[in-house]
Structure formats: structure tokens, C-alpha cells
Subunit: 202 residues, 2 copies
């Protein structure tokens, strides 16, 4: 639209970097900001700058932190002998929300993808392997996605561990609350072959 | 989540000013930016600052512009004797996209709402009335929303015009491409009472 001021066009354009935001939503957002949220927009700009400029990757686990080592890695109440490998910060947050896991993490920030030229170095896997081999780590939980790329990444890590530790993968099966009829056959196959014996016949 | 760095929490919080973005989407957006769009995020921050700081309201029509008078008001190819009154910049854009209207606009940036303490002054209606009464304006198109507030705002403007000009309201009726069965009865009532005679019986 030639009638829009260039500053507004730029804002609309830049808003499309947000996931799930296309040209139409970006226009709606930009106009909403301009008409109703001018002071908050300046705060959002500061927050964006702060996040990008002040946060760095934790040297130990690749998680984002304002310090060299993140708050999870330095938490004395967490089990320092277990590492859970996840693909992204969102996965870390999802696992934290279950409250069942109290160990450390390693955030790959992606998965192996030869097409996108993402190899083990881009995911900092050498750092992870070095931590496993040099630190007193007892257990590794591979919580990469249940996708081809996630499985391949997990497989790569497992095949490069030269230490006798417990290694596990998240259980595969029927999601809680799901009706079997809507499940894909791979999942059902997995759920059948990994069926659990019911021990308590009360 | 206490595990998140304070900068990230702030960003998540500020992203919720965007329309349609709740806490969950804001978290997803913030993590996406941090993991994949760091340099673009800095550009977005600059675009937000520029938009808020450089754009002002056009003194003639209330539209946003980097100059005192916007590009529509100063366009010599537009009909300077017709004004179309809209509630927001999005409405102006929608009308521009039809390519049928080539006059000027007046953007109210809202509608009359005693509950929210939005009166004629907040909508700059005195400026609109003064333009109508002092400039060579021939026609006024009231394109406020077909809601109670939009109708009330249009009615207020009409009742304060002391000049003999053509005043119109957007036609009310069946939206193009709609099946009657899904239409509310007010719209159908309106469409019946304002039915058009078919002149060409070819």
C-alpha cells in the first residue's frame, strides 16, 4: 500500500519475523500498536534489544542466560549427575513444567540436518560429549523430538558415548487423554511393542 | 517459570501487547526470536522505535504520517471535495484496497463511547466539522462501523453539520458471496427494506 508511511511499512515487514505472523496479522499488529500501544511499544523495543544483547549461551549447557553459566547448571539443589538433552528451550520449559525432572539439561538448539548444513559442531555436541566423558555424569536422557531428525540426533549422540552410563530415551506410546481411533499406526505399533505389564492385580 | 532469565521473561511479557498474542504464544515468539532471529529482532526494535517516534497524526485528517500533512491529503490527484470518515487506519486501508474511492479521509481513531470517556474531542470531531464548514467540501461519506457505537458516532457527526452538503452512509445489506441462511435477521431486514430495483430486464 503506497498510502502507508514508510516507517509503518517497515514495522509491518519486521513483525513477520514472529512465528505464525503473516503480512495480514503484521499489519493488524502494527496499526494496533500505533493507535493504542505507543508507550508499550517502546518498552517492547527495549525488551527485544536487552534480550538479544544481554543473553548469551550457557557455556555448560547451551541454555540462554545473562551469566556465563545458567541458573539451572549452578543450582546446588539439582542432580548434577544427570543430563537431559533437548532440542530447544521450549522443550526444556515443557519438561520443567512436569516437575518430575530435577537434573541438568543440554540444549542443542536444533537437530542434525545435513540439508541445512547443521552438523554436530553447530549443535555443540562435542561440548556435550566432553562433559559426559570428563564430568561425573551417571545418566543421559535423550529428549529430542520423536521425529526422524530428533531420532537421528539422539542416535548420533549415543553412538559417540565411550563411557558406561545409563542412557534412556523418552517413552513412546499413547498420549494421555487420547482416543486410540485418532492415533497414527506408528504410534500404536510402538505402544503395543513397548506394552507395560500390569503388576498389581488388585 | 523461575528458570527463565529476567530479560526473556520481560520480552514474553511485553509481546502480549500485540493483539491476539497471549502468554503461551508470547513465550513461543520470544524463544523463536532468541534462537533463530537475533539480528532481525534488533531491526524490529528499531522499527518499533521509529514508528512511535517519527509518526504523528496528520493535522488535517488524523491519519498517521511522518509529515504534518499526510500523503493522501497532499495528493493532487485525489478529489479534495469529498471526505470519507472511518474509525481506524485499518478501515482506511480496506477502503483503499477497493480502488473505488479517490477522495480524502478523516480517521477518528475510535468511536464515541461515554463509558470509556471518549467524546467528540477525543476523536477530533471538532476538527472534522471545522474542515467541512470552512473548506470547499461537497460530500461526506460516513464509513464508521455498522455497530451501535459506529452508528451513534455517524449520527453525532450528521447532527452537527450546518452546511448543505451530500451526506451518505455505506450501504447495508447482504455481503457479497454470503448465503442468506447464515445471515442475521437485522441484516436481512435491512437488505429487504433497502432493496434495489433491477432496471435492465435483458
Amino acid at each position: 500500500m503506497n498510502i502507508l508511511p514508510v516507517e509503518l511499512k517497515k514495522l509491518i515487514n519486521h513483525l513477520t519475523i514472529l512465528p505464525g505472523v503473516g503480512a495480514k496479522s503484521a499489519q493488524r499488529m502494527a496499526i494496533h500498536i500505533l493507535q493504542h500501544k505507543q508507550s508499550q511499544a517502546l518498552e517492547l523495543a527495549t525488551a527485544l534489544n536487552d534480550c538479544v544483547q544481554k543473553l548469551k549461551k550457557c557455556k555448560q549447557c547451551n541454555n540462554f542466560s545473562s551469566d556465563d553459566i545458567c541458573s539451572i547448571c549452578t543450582d546446588p539443589n539439582r542432580d548434577q549427575r544427570t543430563i537431559c538433552v533437548v532440542e530447544s528451550l521450549s522443550d526444556l520449559i515443557s519438561i520443567e513444567q512436569t516437575s518430575i525432572y530435577r537434573g541438568l539439561y543440554f540444549v542443542l538448539l536444533g537437530h542434525l540436518s545435513p540439508i541445512e548444513q547443521i552438523g554436530p559442531e553447530q549443535l555443540n555436541i562435542p561440548t556435550l560429549l566432553s562433559t559426559i566423558h570428563t564430568q561425573p555424569i551417571d545418566e543421559l536422557i535423550l529428549a529430542t523430538n520423536a521425529t526422524i531428525e530428533g531420532e537421528a540426533t539422539a542416535h548420533y549422540i549415543v553412538s559417540h558415548i565411550e563411557k558406561d552410563i545409563k542412557i534412556s530415551r523418552l517413552a513412546s506410546g499413547v498420549p494421555v487423554g487420547t482416543e486410540l481411533e485418532f492415533l497414527n499406526s506408528n504410534t500404536l505399533h510402538q505402544a503395543l511393542s513397548e506394552r507395560r505389564e500390569i503388576l498389581e492385580k488388585s
